[in-house]
């Protein structure tokens, strides 16, 4: 058995064991009872973690680079079905990214599983006299299986299947307290909003199947390359593709395909405009928020973009960047005003996800994934810390009632602080443009920013230099997308070393581009500034959370009085805190860089860091050191001064005239929910009106007796509608519309055979009349 089979086998075993545990728990769970039901799940995830560790060891420390390529080729892959000319296989995508993600997921999951054992046993969770405890762990195990499956599958189709499975688990776990209205509403909202994104994803998959004829990731990428290279490919600019009857330019179709695939990420990673579900998802148990809605599942969207990155055209990539950029700043702004500790963390998660997506869009493949991993560690830790606080304070989530808790829960406070520092990007720049010391966020986030800065201003800076011609060469041909991008950048760097000397004067006039055009012509310049501004906001709101919770004077005596810390639960916190340090220093970056080299081979849109990072840092470093680095100091100090004495100063600031307006917009979450509510509600009502009209004038024309019933039904419906409010009504309204149409159909089924006969005869008569006289 060769290495590839060994490693992929380990990965598969690691994924399947939680599934077995899920089945076990589903059948035996109720009999195991409260503390014991968690053991199979924990056992399962520890086995997975063991497999992950073994696989990592084999892959990273035993195999050489060449052997890894061989091993990746010999990973397990089974044919599943051949449909038409598209073979569907289930196989393991074996590369460094898979290994890194797998290891991270199992490690974080293990910590959270262990944490949940204690955390969940403290909750009353009985429904109909039966404890749901086992169900929680069954769902968690199912989630672990699905997430690991998502990570390892090498086919877009299987990725989608697991994608849906994690969505299902998320739904089940958000709605874990389904006997509480807000939880079940949040679950439905998450499910419905995610479906919107998935719809786009399905369309993207369809386009991939249609044009690339291959749903495996590697195959699709290869086909994409061959189709978009040269001037005669399917995706060339001069190709007209018949798309559902319209002729569309090939490169536009390619862009559309990328954007549709990205829609999946918008839903799952909660990017604008589908971000509305994630804050509500905090209705689930805190470990769930930590695992699924912070560390792993929501990052799956970013993982997807990383996987399909070579399928993106520059246009699609710009869309990715813009969505990420808008998300990260909106979420950060909203995070400032949150008073619920979990919601504040949720918005910070949104913002960080925005960073990742933004990084992807900017070409910072390595930076984005690196941020994904470091973020997973510290955000899981932050959430578990908040869970500890909430548990300690008897389910009090309002930060306004906390304060001074560090005396009661020192370990939690300390680990939480580590998380705050990490997310704020605390670090110290070194001399040679490489960081001297820092925490996770400092490395990963600043890497994204550095690449983004380079992406935006690299060219204009370069145009001052002697190697600009090479960039210009690239820039003159923006539409035939990626050809030669890589070589241009690399050439640019080699030019730095003085090997290339190309005149650019003529080209500049020929292209008509201004001298400050960015490297990637579709990405606007202001985008990077959003990220930089957010980098200033982040430390402020994170420090605000920490300060309000742990420092200052206790603001609510009973809450403070009850607060306590249970030693059994902070061990995972400490492990994750150590992981936060470790993840930023060892291992993961190397793995991702290794993976990036393969991607950079294929996609010209990756800004390759490895080997050239010093160049980017040389370019971006000085600027960022001025623009971003001081942010955490200023943010911390600002937060300290505002919240030093509790909330009074903050309240006074809020009352200032302009701030007040702004605060309200933030507090209303930019009115996204309201807008959706209005739009969807209006659409639904319009639709139901149309149905009603049809009902009234078409059906009842034949069926006289049904008329009264319909009028009554309409009256009932409009009465209900007037009461409707809140986004939770959306799902309900959709459902109600379906029910309404269903009732319409059922109303025809009167049970009287005479009516059936005359309906049939009438239909025939009408159809024939139409046929004859039309």
């Amino acid at each position: 058995m060769d290495a590839g089979q060994q490693i992929s086998g380990l990965l598969i075993i690691g994924a399947v064991v939680p599934l077995l545990m899920f089945v076990l728990l589903a059948f035996l769970g109720p009999r195991l009872g409260k503390p014991f039901a968690s053991f199979p799940a924990i056992f399962g995830i520890l086995v997975s973690f063991g497999c992950a560790a073994l696989a990592l060891q084999r892959w990273w420390y035993v195999l050489t680079d060449d052997e890894r390529v061989e091993a990746a080729a010999s990973a397990y892959s089974w044919p599943w079905v051949v449909l038409g000319d598209i073979p569907i296989r289930f196989g393991v995508q074996l590369d460094s990214l898979t290994i890194a993600m797998y290891f991270m997921v199992t490690l974080v999951s293990s910590c959270i599983f262990i944490f949940s054992r204690g955390y969940m046993s403290g909750h009353s969770d009985e429904v109909d006299g039966v404890s749901k405890y086992h169900r929680f762990f069954a769902y968690l195990s199912l989630f672990a299986f699905s997430m690991l499956g998502l990570v390892i599958s090498d086919s877009l189709l299987f990725l989608f299947i697991f994608w849906e499975l994690v969505g299902l688990c998320s739904y089940l776990l958000i709605g874990y307290y389904f006997d509480r209205k807000y939880a079940s509403n949040a679950a439905i909202k998450a499910f419905v909003v995610n479906r919107v994104g998935d719809f786009g994803f399905i369309i993207g998959l369809g386009l991939v199947a249609l044009f690339l004829k291959d749903l495996s990731i590697g195959g699709a990428i290869a086909a994409f390359q061959s189709q978009s290279s040269g001037e005669t490919g399917l995706f060339a600019r001069d190709t007209a593709i018949n798309l559902f009857g319209w002729y569309v330019r090939g490169d536009i179709v390619a862009t559309l395909m990328g954007v549709f695939l990205f829609c999946g990420c918008i839903g799952k990673s909660a990017q604008v405009p589908l971000q509305v579900w994630l804050p509500d998802a905090m209705a689930g148990p805190t470990p769930v928020s930590a695992l699924i809605h912070a560390a792993t599942m929501v990052a799956a969207g970013v993982y997807l973009v990383a996987r399909i990155f070579p399928l993106l055209t520059p246009g699609a990539q710009a869309v990715v960047a813009m969505v990420g950029g808008v998300t990260l700043i909106l979420a950060a702004l909203m995070a400032i005003v949150q008073t619920d500790i979990k919601k504040a963390l949720a918005y910070s998660t949104l913002s960080q996800l925005g960073y990742m997506v933004f990084g992807m869009g900017m070409g910072a493949w390595v930076g984005a994934l690196f941020h994904l991993i470091t973020h997973a560690f510290f955000k899981a830790m932050l959430f578990l810390g908040s869970g500890q606080v909430i548990e300690g304070c008897h389910h009090e989530q309002d930060m306004r009632k906390m304060g001074g808790l560090w005396r009661k829960m020192p370990v939690t406070a300390f680990t939480f602080l580590v998380g705050v520092l990490a997310i704020s990007g605390v670090g110290w720049p070194g001399k040679n443009t490489t960081p001297f010391f820092g925490l996770g966020g400092y490395y990963s986030k600043d890497e994204i920013l550095a690449v983004a800065w380079f992406q935006t201003y690299g060219l204009s800076a370069a145009s001052d230099g002697h190697h600009a011609g090479n960039f210009r060469e690239r820039a003159t041909d923006p539409l035939t997308n990626a050809h030669g991008y890589d070589s241009v950048i690399l050439a640019g760097y080699s030019a730095e070393e003085g090997q290339h000397q190309t005149a650019h004067a003529g080209l500049e006039t020929a292209s008509g581009l201004k001298s400050d055009a960015s490297l990637q012509p579709w990405i606007p310049k202001w985008l990077v500034w959003l990220a930089i501004i957010t980098a200033w906001i982040t430390p402020f709101y994170m420090m605000r959370v920490w300060w309000l919770t742990f420092m200052g004077k206790p603001r609510d005596e009973p809450v403070y009085h009850h607060a306590h810390e249970s030693p059994g639960m902070y061990i995972p916190l400490v492990i994750l805190a150590i992981g936060t340090f470790a993840a930023s220093w060892f291992l993961f970056r190397g793995l991702i860089v290794d993976a990036a080299q393969h991607v950079a081979h294929i996609s010209k849109l990756v800004v390759p860091l490895d080997g050239h990072e010093h160049l980017i840092h040389a370019f971006s470093g000085p600027a960022l050191n001025k623009l971003v680095w001081p942010a955490f100091i200023v943010g911390f100090i600002a937060a300290f001064f505002i919240y030093r004495r509790g909330l009074k100063l903050a309240e006074r600031i809020i009352d200032l005239p302009v701030v007040e307006q702004f605060y309200w917009i933030l507090w209303q979450k930019f009115y996204f929910d309201e807008a959706y509510n209005k739009l969807v509600l209006a659409g639904t009502i319009l639709f139901s009106r149309i149905c009603g009209w049809f009902d009234k004038w078409v059906v009842d024309f034949v069926l006289v007796e049904g008329c009264a019933r319909v009028v009554k039904g309409l009256a009932f419906f409009s009465g209900q509608r007037l009461d409707a409010g809140g986004i939770d009504q959306v799902a309900e309204n959709l459902g109600r519309t379906a029910f309404r149409i269903g009732d319409l159909f059922r109303a025809v089924q009167t049970g009287r055979i005479r009516n059936y006969v005359i309906y049939t005869a009438a239909t025939l008569a009408v159809v024939i009349s139409v046929m004859v006289w039309w």
Partner: protein, 104 residues
């Protein structure tokens, strides 16, 4: 004006019988009445067949097909009457409106 009878006469007669048959089916509450409607419709298609055989195409085939239609009509009537009797035993009535407990 009354001098000749053509194919169209028969076809219109059959169409009339067809529509009246449907009307009977849709407007009778007595199950047997509804069955009578079915028989009228089947008669309509027989008239059609034989008229074609007489005036247009088909020849002998039309006669044979009509023969089979009659057989089918008889079979259908037999089973239908049996079912009506069964209905009567259960509901003590042949009112099809009463036999409308299952709906929507």
């Amino acid at each position: 004006m009354f001098t000749a009878i053509g194919l169209t006469h028969y076809l219109l007669l059959a169409a009339m019988l067809f529509c009246i048959g449907l009307w009977v089916m849709a407007s009778k509450r007595n199950a047997i009445g509804v069955l009578i409607g079915v028989e009228l419709i089947l008669n309509a298609s027989n008239i059609n067949l034989l008229a074609f055989a007489r005036y247009s195409t088909g020849g002998m085939n039309g006669h044979l097909i009509a023969l089979f239609v009659i057989v089918l009509a008889a079979a259908e009537a037999a089973i239908a009457i049996a079912i009506v009797v069964n209905l009567y035993k259960n509901f003590m009535s042949v009112d099809v409106d009463k036999a409308a407990t299952m709906k929507n």
